[in-house]
Subunit: 145 residues, 4 copies
């Protein structure tokens, strides 16, 4: 597959799927960089995504991490395949404060049935980029419904 | 602690904390039953919480599970203590479809520093209650900021 | 499947597989109760399985938990299928001291491809049975090699 | 802390602790490279550590990964502190076959109370080094008993 076809076809599929995720729109998340095996999702701070102390809620952190991993898996699938999260584990390493979160899903192992991803979430605050969450995710390929 | 004081004091603290979580309000989640060591959170289906196929997004499922476990831990803390999620792992067992999700956080082990919770999420659909996600969570007690 | 055929066929397959696991024999573990969807493994205390303070090593605790979950999955498979652990997460809840550990693997969800198990490990000490570890495991069914 | 003092003091503490772990000796594991924040453990193939197909048992893979992470945490502790595994999650990515396993524990976040480690396990076979397991671990610092 050429880089061009990756960009035009796979990226379009991922953007269409992302646009259908009501939750991502509710949170105010947007797709970032998409390359084979790695997808970024950005989430600006807003009152919509806070926990009780005004930081990003762990549930918001996890939601964009989960989606970033799922779309990372999808970058290596053909158009007839879809992906479901089987499970993930995430450590919240530091208070998630700042202007924006950036979740990065990266494929660790891509198999016929299962894909395993690393999940990293960074907070952007005062010009710094701090790792605030790290996790690992198992996904399963299914035929497109 | 008498059941009465549990109800009046602890429940009030949890309700106040929950009300401050912008994310829970954004998703449309509400607190359910609160008993010592166990807290329920309900999430009605809406376009705000869907994934690309119209089911509940795994991120929404996880967010209410995470909060339910955190508040379950809080039921056994004195008013001077707060709680942070250290990490959790969740398996998405079945498509989360239906009218409402119900997350149940239950304490498995309550220690001086760490609390471990079971997380179970059920979907209510057509009068049935189906387990759609199950997880396990580690929390840490901190002094109230 | 009748209870009789379960006992005679499935139990024999599990016992044969267990006998081939060099690690279980090295640790001194033995199979306990086998019922559809649930398998127990016992591990007596010995110098072979300790950590630096003389308690059961978390690696030994995890090893029998992992095997108990795998064999629990196998109880629902036909003879042509085998099982591999995809991943598991385990919390070590309390020091694992005592005369014996007992790991219990219980199926939470049995699907066509994936099985999810709960893992619980108890320590037997002074006549008491204490939960010392709890986890959750994902397994995949494969054709018997 | 100078590199010299790290080598002589911390390394000695880790070697002494490792030597007391009956399980590591039972499996035939040995300590490898120790640097601040990263520890390697090696496990040669033998009949002592196999599963039913003759590969390394997932329990053996996990046991050395768990220990590597624990000792990685210990490299940053003063002599008065010890470490306990709170929990870990591990994905078994590929059949663990070969002459030797090499587990690498790497600190992701070192806090006052909790340390989070990445766990990677490689199989050495036919001159190649293949990632066969990856995980994430939470540890707690305790006063030396």
């Amino acid at each position: 597959m050429t880089e061009t076809s990756f960009t035009s076809e796979t990226q379009a599929r991922i953007e269409q799927s992302f646009a259908k995720q009501g939750l991502m729109s509710t949170l105010g998340a947007r797709l970032g960089q998409i390359t084979p095996g790695e997808v970024h999702i950005h989430l600006p701070m807003s009152g919509r995504v806070t926990q009780q102390h005004g930081f990003f809620h762990g549930g918001a952190t996890s939601a964009i991490a989960d989606s970033a991993g799922g779309y990372a898996a999808l970058t290596l699938f053909d158009p007839g395949s879809a992906v479901l999260t089987v499970e993930y584990k995430i450590n919240l390493l530091a208070p998630a404060r700042g202007d924006e979160l950036e979740a990065v899903g990266t494929i660790l192992k891509s198999g016929r049935t299962l894909t395993i991803c690393r999940l990293d979430v960074y907070a952007h605050a005062n010009g710094a980029r701090v790792l605030v969450a790290a996790g690992q995710q198992t996904l399963i390929r299914i035929d497109n419904p």
